[in-house]
Structures are given as C-alpha cells and as structure tokens.
C-alpha cells in the first residue's frame, strides 16, 4: 500500500491508496479509499493498468487469427471467451445451427471444466483474503487436475484456443473421457471438503454474512450478471434463458439465493460447481455415445481442407493457402453472441463490413459491469470488508481492461 503525499484531508479523513499491487485486488486494480478511522467514506476505483487493446488488435487480424487474442481477455476462463467469439463468428457466417453435435458436447464439457477451475481460483483466493490458508492449497490441487485435462487435449494448460469456427481444432484424445470421468468422481467429495472448512466456520460467517449486500433492484440497476446477480435473487443464467451449444438438453439446476451478501455469493458459486459436475457427467456419457462423429463443420468458406487432401490435391492446397493468407470473408452485418462465463454474461459483438477482417469487435466483460457496484457497496462499510467485497464479486482485470 502506498500513501499519498497529502494523506489527510481537511475534515481529518485519510486518503489511502489500495493497489494496484495489493494481493487482494486480484490483479492490478487501484482503489482510492477515503477513510474516517476504520470506516470507508468514499471509494474511487481506478483501472486500465492491464489495458492491452485487444479490441483494436482484433480489427487488424482475420477471423481465425483473432481467436488467440480472446484467450487473454478473461485469463481464468479462456474457453468461454473462445466460445463466445466463435459463436459470434458462426452467426456472422450463418452456420450457428450447423455445428456437429460432438463438437457441441465437447464445448459444453470444456466450458464447465473451466467454470470449476475458475471458481476454484476464486474460492482459494477469496478464502485467503479472509485469512483461511488451507482452502487455497486444496483448490489449487483440484485446479491442477482441470489444467492437466486441458493440457491433454491441446498441449497448453491455459490458453488453449481449442475452438474453431464450425467446431473444434481437433478431436479430443482417446483418454480424455477417462480423465474427465476421474475428475467427476472425485470432485463432489472435494467440494464437501471445502464446505467443511468454510460454510459453518464462525470466522468466515462473521466476515461474510450481511456484508456487501446488493439488493435485487440494485443488481439490475448496475447491470450485474452471473453468480453475483443470482445471489441477489434474480434467476438469470444465459445457459437456461438463452441456451446455446445444446444446454437446454442437459439436466441441471440454476443456483440462486435471496440474500445478496458475500456469503450468498459464496453459497451460489459452491452450488454452481456441483451443478457443473452434473453437466460434465451427462456430457461425458454423450461424448462416448458419439465416438468417431464429426468434430468440425465441412464448409469450404471457413474450414480448412483435410491434411491428407492438401498433400494430394492442388485445389485443396490453394484453398488452404487462401484460408490462411486471406482468411474467411463474411457478408456485411453484425452478430452478438453471449455465453455464461464463470463471472457472468461474457459476450462478443462483431461488426463486419464485408472484408476479411472484422470492422469492430466488442467484448462484453461481465466483471466490468459487476465491479461498478463496488464503490457503492463498500462506502460506509469497514475497511476490512473491502477485501471481502472485492473477492466476492470475482473480478478478473484482464476482462475489465481488455
């Protein structure tokens, strides 16, 4: 923490800079807090430290190339970013409803694995902020298992870029289903384990219950989405309300709560992890039933020819060269596609002018909207509650600053 030169204002209040390097700000968020004793009287968030110009860069790349940038927006959930970008592209190319089923099933499994991995990071760091060290270590252990699965399918642990317009980059390896089944088997017991450490822990409850309350109206006023919105009593989940990738055919419940405090957000996310395990379980069964089915759409406008054909046919080689050098070219138009990322409604809005590069790409980061409420929640509260509030909103600065 760095104190400003003029730390005392005229009214005897102290101005304190929290961040940008404070561990509890989960990235590089800077909060300017005005304190009266231990009470926060005013909070001004300052961000942009992680601004990388991803939207501008996407305008200078073709539709296949911009995919790798999307991994870096919300770096804790790269798969869901990939998915929303790819879905927007698919709508733009009018192939949104033609994606093969096996690809859809893999997309669902990976999205839910990502959700669990991201929630584990949130849980670990949130508990760590509140002084519980053990949960952090436990969460990292299970997250490692998810990252191993990601490494198994793509060779990369985090920035997988596994999706492609019209399907996936490749089929999942044969041992993928086995790894996922192992994970599904152990995970419910592990979630029980975290809950024994926190859910009835008196210190944790004292720090979280009734703290940072956001009402239903407040949540809608500030454009909340995701677990934060559901913890405030609004039953809205993009997977259910605007289904994509066949989520409507899976059997799962939407976790929600009425209280709207930090503890409610904790409980909603814990239940969400259990529901994700249920979805993955159903997805693995479908995956085994669809063994050997197509994983990518066969549309010469967007998908690359098969490798064997490139070696034997001149036309395929030219086709491949055109798709790599120029890239796919959509009709002019706009498409907005939203997915339920671990943090809320993650969306990509692409505008095309009919050239091979998007005219404008906008990424709607749920954290950007969720964080807006922070300055109003923590004003009037204690400085110790600031870390609890930031942790419970589960922000990722890569997504806020883009």
């Amino acid at each position: 923490m760095v104190m400003l030169e003029d730390t005392r204002t005229e009214s005897g209040r102290m101005v304190l800079n929290m961040g940008p390097q404070h561990p509890s700000t989960h990235g590089v968020l800077r909060l300017m807090l005005e304190l009266e004793g231990e009470n926060v009287t005013q909070c001004i968030p300052d961000m942009g430290y992680l601004h990388t110009g991803i939207e501008k860069m996407s305008e200078a790349r073709n539709y296949h190339q911009a995919l790798v940038l999307t991994d870096r927006i919300d770096y804790l959930a790269p798969i869901t970013n990939n998915l929303s970008y790819i879905m927007a592209c698919e709508k733009l190319f009018d192939v949104g409803d033609k994606v093969p089923e096996r690809a859809q099933v893999v997309r669902v499994i990976l999205s839910e694995l990502t959700r669990i991995a991201s929630h584990l990071i949130w849980l670990g760091t949130h508990a760590l902020d509140l002084g519980a060290m053990t949960v952090f270590m436990y969460c990292w252990r299970e997250r490692e298992q998810v990252l191993d699965i990601m490494e198994n399918i793509s060779g990369v642990r985090m920035m997988t870029s596994f999706m492609r317009i019209g399907g996936l980059v490749a089929d999942v390896p044969d041992d993928f289903a086995g790894l996922v089944v192992d994970f599904v088997r152990v995970m419910p017991r592990k979630i029980d384990e975290y809950e024994t450490l926190l859910s009835r822990n008196p210190i944790f409850i004292d720090r979280t219950r009734g703290v940072g309350v956001i009402t239903r109206d407040g949540a809608l006023e500030y454009g909340f989405s995701g677990s934060c919105l559901r913890a405030s009593g609004v039953e809205f989940d993009v997977r259910v309300n605007l289904p994509y990738c066949g989520y409507e055919t899976y059997d799962f419940d939407v976790a929600w709560s009425k209280e709207g405090d930090v503890y409610a957000r904790y409980m909603v996310r814990m239940r969400e992890m259990r529901e994700s395990v249920r979805i993955i379980d159903q997805g693995t069964k479908r995956l085994l039933a669809l063994k050997g089915a197509a994983i990518r759409l066969d549309d010469p406008r967007i998908t690359f020819p098969k490798r064997e054909k490139i070696h034997s046919s001149m036309e395929s080689l030219i086709h491949h060269f055109k798709l790599v050098s120029e890239g796919p070219v959509p009709l002019p138009g706009e498409a907005y596609a939203a997915v339920e990322s671990p943090r809320g409604e993650q969306a990509t809005y692409i505008m095309s002018d009919g050239s091979n590069m998007p005219h404008r790409v906008r990424f709607r980061g749920p954290s950007f909207y969720n964080l807006q409420v922070l300055q109003h929640t923590i004003s009037g509260g204690l400085i110790a509650d600031v870390v609890a509030c930031i942790g419970s909103i589960d922000i990722v600065l890569g997504e806020i600053d883009r």
Partner: protein
C-alpha cells in the same frame, strides 16, 4: 334477418386473420418520431431499432419502465466508428427482459462537426449500469455524453492523446527509443 349479423361476423373472421400484435420495435417507431429499422444484416436475429439522439434517453427509459415487455436489464453499451457513413459514431444499447427473455438492440448515431466531439445524451443518470460503458466509449471513441455524472477516461491514462478505437487512430508500433543506425552501430 336475425341470423344475418352473426354469419357476417363469422365470414369476416375466417377471411381476415387478426393483425399480429405490434412488436416492441413497432411501438418504439410509433412513439419516437424519426426512429426506424436500419437496413443492415443482423445475423443474430435480435430486433434492432435506431433512435434519434435527442430521444435516446426517453426511449431507453420507456423501454425499461413502460413498454409492455419490460426490458429491465441493460446488457451492454458499446460504440463503433464507421468513417464512411454520414453519422460515423454509433452507440449500441442491448436490453434484456427478465420476464420474456426477449432482447432488443437500440442504436443511436451522430456526426461530429469539425474538431468537436460528437455528442449523445447520457443515460447514466437513469440507469447506473451505463456509467462505466459510457466512460469507455468516451475514452475509446471520443463521444461526449451530456449530463454524465463523471465523464473521465477510464482505461487509458488521463493525459492520453486521441481516441484509440477510432479508425483514424493508427494501430502501428511505438517508435523505438534507442534506435541504432547502421553508422552508430559500429
């Protein structure tokens, strides 16, 4: 004679199907003069309407509080820059209705005169969710939102020059500070 009126009514009903109820888009067009559906391909099938800048605040407020489909969630506010159009600066609002799961896209476009920034009324005072997104559009596109409570740059530093997402803002690399020429290199 007695049976005539009901039979007439029956034939009328079978010949003419009742007109479909007006959509939210129709209601907006009827209510706010000058608004229209742009002739553009919306590949996501989301109903879209363009509203004049002077009506945008009333239109958003009406959609939220009075429209039969209550659009009670502001999903996104985003900007775009189309230098070839007459009104190059476009702001897009996406609204969602929790009761019907319907979505609507409202657009608003303005031109800039000379070096002045293009001006659109802010909706941040009637919907707090728009506060930061409007600051971002101000930062990235240089669109000024009138009556915004706190219109400052949000992602770039306060002394940044230009608006990065405008099409005339160069994408190029930064100049290399310690550039070594061939003669100085030895």
């Amino acid at each position: 004679m007695v049976q005539q009126p009901p039979s007439e009514g029956a034939t009328e009903a079978s010949d003419e199907t009742p007109p479909p109820p007006p959509t939210d888009i129709d209601l907006v067009i009827e209510r706010f003069p000058g608004s229209f559906v742009p002739s553009w391909r919306y590949a996501d099938q989301m109903p879209t309407v363009r509203v004049l800048p002077e009506h945008i605040r009333q239109a958003i407020s009406w959609l939220r509080h009075e429209c039969p489909t209550r659009f009670d969630m502001l999903v996104d506010v985003g900007g775009s820059h189309w230098p070839d159009r007459v009104e190059p600066f476009e702001v897009t609002y996406i609204l969602h209705s929790m009761t019907t799961n319907a979505r609507i896209r409202v657009k608003c476009a303005v031109a800039s005169h000379g070096d002045e920034l293009p001006v659109i009324p802010s909706i941040a005072l009637i919907w707090s969710a728009a506060n930061w997104p409007e600051r971002e559009i101000y930062d990235m596109f240089g669109v000024e939102f009138t009556d915004h409570p706190d219109l400052r740059r949000i992602l770039t530093p306060n002394d940044w020059e230009g608006h990065p997402l405008r099409k005339d803002f160069p994408l190029g690399e930064e100049p290399v500070e310690f550039y070594r020429t061939a003669s100085a290199g030895a």
